[in-house]
């Protein structure tokens, strides 16, 4: 029988959901930092190399790198929040699940996390457009620029879809690790590799 959200939302599932969300956020943060470091060292090496004598490092390159890294770092927050909510309220990870179920729950959690990230992205894009100043009363009132709304939303949707594709294996990995962690504290009958199912 399907369980209601209030039945699912226990303190135990909140703890395992929190661990999974922290794992996802931590892994993505490490990936973002290493990615930015590779890019920064690549730029420095390219500028310092005798093979590229004509190339000079510009402030624009550094600003673009910093902006990309900040954007990638900030995008982790809604994804981690989505993973937490999904594993806590919708598709909890419990010791009784089989490996296949854990993978399916994790894929669902990645989808929910992407939906949360999409909602946050759309709200912030619309907010940015609404905040653009209009000509009325010395630019005192905001005036939405409708011509940039479409491209901005395309950009947000595309970016979230790319992130969803990249983050799904990370969420499945976090789900599996949390499941192994729960199974360690559960009775011997639910040890990983020895699967029991809820009747």
């Amino acid at each position: 029988m399907a369980r209601s959200i209030s039945n699912t939302a226990t303190r135990a599932t909140a703890r395992s959901a929190g661990v999974a969300a922290l794992l996802v956020a931590g892994l993505m943060l490490v990936q973002t930092i290493i990615h930015s470091a590779i890019e920064a060292f690549g730029l420095l090496a390219y500028a310092a190399s005798p093979l590229t004598a004509g190339y000079r490092l510009r402030a624009d390159d550094v600003a673009s790198l910093a902006s990309t890294a900040t954007g990638a770092g900030l995008s982790i927050v809604p994804l981690a929040l989505g993973v937490f909510l999904a594993f806590w309220l919708v598709v909890p990870i419990t010791a009784e699940l089989s490996v296949t179920r854990v993978v399916l729950h994790s894929i669902a959690a990645a989808g929910i996390a992407a939906a949360v990230a999409l909602a946050v992205g759309v709200i912030s894009a619309v907010g940015r457009i609404l905040a653009s100043a209009g000509p009325l009363f010395g630019n005192a009132f905001p005036r939405p620029d409708g011509s940039i709304l479409g491209p901005s939303l395309f950009e947000v949707v595309q970016s979230v879809l790319f992130t969803c594709v990249a983050v799904t294996p990370v969420v499945v990995l976090a789900g599996l690790v949390v499941w192994l962690w729960i199974a360690r504290t559960a009775p011997a009958s639910t040890a990983p590799g020895e699967v029991t199912r809820i009747p």
């Binding site: 390219y46 491209p151 395309f154 879809l161 594709v165 599996l176 040890a191 990983p192 590799g193």
Partner: protein
């Protein structure tokens, strides 16, 4: 005592390594295809706003072949060889051991990417496609990016293959 390469190269290790490499190739290939589809649909949607160019819509599909040749295939080969001959996944491993072995396998996969990308960049150098500097830096950067991107997938494949091996020997699967 450390096992020799010949002792590790068993049929059982090859089967586990094949399963892990199969998971890696499936996930990385699906990711590459989905990224290309998203890019194509994005380009089509963008071209309707008047800011994009419709003739560039299928560029991501063309890049898919290069990505398969320089990333997907080398990573899968590297992961298979690593899990088969260097760091096999056995039922008596602990979680920490699986993580370390998977990281090593991801490193070998990235090393294979470096070789394959170097061959590709070398051929494009011959035909004047790019400069020596950009080929050199691009190749090293590409291998490093691949390592960062593919590590969670290899960890996932390592865990799934280990759970599969442990299923045959539940008593030995100490977490």
């Amino acid at each position: 005592m450390a096992q020799s390469l010949q002792e590790r190269a068993t049929r059982a290790n090859a089967r586990t390594a094949g399963a892990a490499a199969g998971i890696v190739i499936a996930v990385v290939a699906v990711q590459a295809i989905l990224r290309a589809i998203i890019a194509v649909f994005g380009a089509i949607a963008y071209s309707t706003t008047g800011d994009g160019y419709l003739q560039n819509v299928f560029t991501p599909v063309g890049g898919l072949g290069i990505e398969f040749g320089t990333t997907v295939l080398p990573v899968a080969i590297g992961v298979f060889l690593a899990f088969w001959l260097l760091v096999p996944l056995t039922a008596d491993l602990r979680v920490g051991g699986v993580v370390l072995r998977s990281l090593a396998a991801a490193g070998v996969g990235a090393a294979f990417t470096l070789v394959f990308t170097a061959v590709y960049s070398g051929s494009s150098l011959l035909f004047g496609g790019q400069s020596l500097a950009s080929a050199l830096f691009g190749t090293v950067q590409s291998a490093l990016y691949t390592f960062v991107g593919v590590t969670p997938v290899v960890l996932l494949a390592g865990f799934l293959a280990w759970l599969w091996v442990s299923k045959a020997k539940p008593a030995a699967s100490a977490v």
